[in-house]
Amino acid sequence: MNTFQKFYLTFLVIFLASCSSVSTDRTNDATAISASATGAYSDSGLTSNNVLYFAYDRSDINSEGRAKIRNLAKVINNNNLSVRVEGHCDERGTREYNLALGEQRAKTVAELLVINGVPSSKISTVSYGEEKPAVSGSNENSWSKNRRALVKTF
């Protein structure tokens, strides 16, 4: 190999290196493993009239709802029950924001139960946000049924 050829080859190698690249990658088989919840949580509803409804993006209770809560308070105290108040939302708005809104709804109901004589130690609250709709459907009829708080025996 003469000097020119050497020079040419060196130049070629540098030239190729400057415009092209080389890579080696490696893949792996999937190693994820699945699991599932054990001892599913469940609870049961209080007799009747245990659902309170709300306006869109609101957590206040109208006079009809307040009357319902007064009756609920009597039933709870007469039977010495412990209750859990679940707050729910319609599907509009973001999920985590609705989780917060559902908690406000549950707490409003809990506060009204306390005002009506139920000891606060007998009440717990939880929000499910928009995760457990009562009915499906993206329309006002469904939404109005999903914006609710449920008072359940616990």
């Binding site: 990658d25 893949t27 088989d29 699945s34 919840a37 509009r92 708005g93 989780l99």
Partner: protein, 430 residues
């Protein structure tokens, strides 16, 4: 060049995910100016028959987001598998900008293959990249995704995201009464359930090292944050506080998780320190503070608050807890996520009662609405910052859809069984 074939690699094949796909990318309207590329079927030098065709995986990857127009083999004038068979004139004639050829061979290791490939710039008539991908023969799709990533990054100069993964929640259906925490490849293939529960699951978030997913489960009758290892299914519940325990989001260094607790009486942003297993409070306001997202540089946390009377996005400095309001347009801006460069955010924006996905430039404050469907939520950004996947509705059905941040390409990912929501895009995979 690294000759890694001399390394002894042992594969621990613990679990085979279902190979059926749950999400498929279907493009609805693409970009007008796409790059034309030809991916020639690879020479298959193995005795076993070929079940997955790597060039088809690459074609479907590159066409996913409308940026490439991939020439089908039936339109090719020749099917070269080595440089001797490449006649640039022919490919120029077909209007091809780039050409990819390659071959698949077995290696010294049992059931392992090597796909070697070359990317040519047809106009400049030269190779711009030579590479190979090694892996078990069961990972042909993943090998294709790796090659797609390299093609994408060589041509666009930013990382390809075809090897990334998606976590999402599948809600109960007639076929499965449970909520499922799912993961799949970003094209919807190789989906599997990581966790299954009759009670709601929410808000999956990938750890930066991709080894864990944090999420919310109601299995104990109240919301609680869990961290689950992908490799062993080992789960750990974060210290449970009274009220809401939700909205987990990992810090960029993976040592902390920002989340929402309402133990003080109303939802505020807290940080969980993984080493100390303890919570510290970041925001304190009687309104709702929720949906934290750590900035890429760790210096701030984006969150939603209704402290002004309606949900808006704010940023809290993680050093001094100083708070700055970011959104001012409209009466509902929520569930924000930083773009990977930290220069913008993507979020849910309500306009005339309709929920859209929008972006905002953090320097100029300019808001751009990306989507035109209703009830759009849970946006998640690709780690290269080019694409957003979000949850929306198809009639009454929960589906995932996507859009490129330039707004040019939209796609839907219709779920084949069940209904998908709350997508979470993984970080880049090495």
């Amino acid at each position: 060049m690294h000759f890694r074939k001399f390394l002894l690699i042992t594969y621990f094949i613990i679990f085979f995910p279902t190979l059926s796909s749950q999400l498929r990318i279907e493009i609805k309207g693409g970009a007008e100016e796409s790059i034309s590329i030809a991916v020639v079927p690879m020479q298959w030098n193995l005795e076993v028959p070929q079940e997955t065709f790597i060039h088809k995986v690459i074609k479907s990857d590159l066409e996913s987001f409308g940026e490439f127009n991939v020439l089908p083999p039936r339109n090719m004038l020749s099917l070269p598998t080595s440089k001797e068979g490449v006649f640039f004139k022919d490919w120029r004639l077909l209007g091809t900008d780039y050409l990819v050829i390659g071959n698949v061979k077995s290696t010294d290791i049992d059931r392992e293959i090597r796909a070697s490939y070359t990317i040519y710039d047809v106009v400049k008539e030269r190779a711009i990249h030579r590479g190979s991908v090694l892996g078990p023969i069961s990972t042909l799709r993943k090998i294709g995704h790796k090659i797609s990533d390299t093609i994408y990054s060589r041509i666009h100069g930013i990382p390809g995201i075809f090897s990334t993964r998606l976590a999402y929640i599948d809600k109960p259906s007639n076929s499965d009464p449970n909520y499922n925490l799912m993961i799949s490849d970003i094209d919807g293939y190789d989906s599997m359930s990581l966790f299954s529960s009759p009670q709601p699951l929410m808000s999956p978030s990938w750890s930066p090292d991709l080894k864990n997913i944090a999420y919310v489960s109601f299995e104990e009758g109240t919301s609680r944050i869990f961290i689950q290892k992908l490799s062993s299914a080992e789960r750990k519940g974060l210290k449970l506080e009274k009220g809401i325990n939700s909205s987990p989001n990992w810090s960029p260094d993976g040592k902390k998780i920002s989340a929402v607790l309402s133990k003080t009486g109303n939802p505020d942003i807290f940080i969980y320190d993984m080493e100390r297993s303890s919570w510290s409070q970041v925001t304190k306001h009687f309104g709702i503070d929720t949906e934290p997202d750590w900035s890429p540089n760790s210096k701030s946390i984006l969150f939603t608050s209704n402290r002004s009377g309606s949900p808006q996005l704010y940023e809290v400095n993680t050093r001094n807890n100083r708070i700055k309001r970011l959104t001012f347009e409209g009466s509902y801006n929520a569930r924000g996520r930083y773009l990977p460069d930290g220069k913008g955010i993507v979020f849910v924006h309500r306009q005339n009662g309709i929920f859209h996905i929008a972006t905002q430039n953090l320097k100029t404050g300019k808001v751009k609405i990306l989507t035109d469907t209703t009830l759009d939520e849970s946006p998640t950004v690709s780690p290269n910052g080019n694409v957003v996947i979000y949850a929306t509705k198809d009639g009454d059905k929960d589906i995932l859809a996507g859009i490129t941040l330039d707004g040019k390409t939209k796609f839907v990912m219709p779920s084949l069984k069940g209904e998908a929501r709350e997508p979470s895009w993984s970080p880049l995979i090495d």
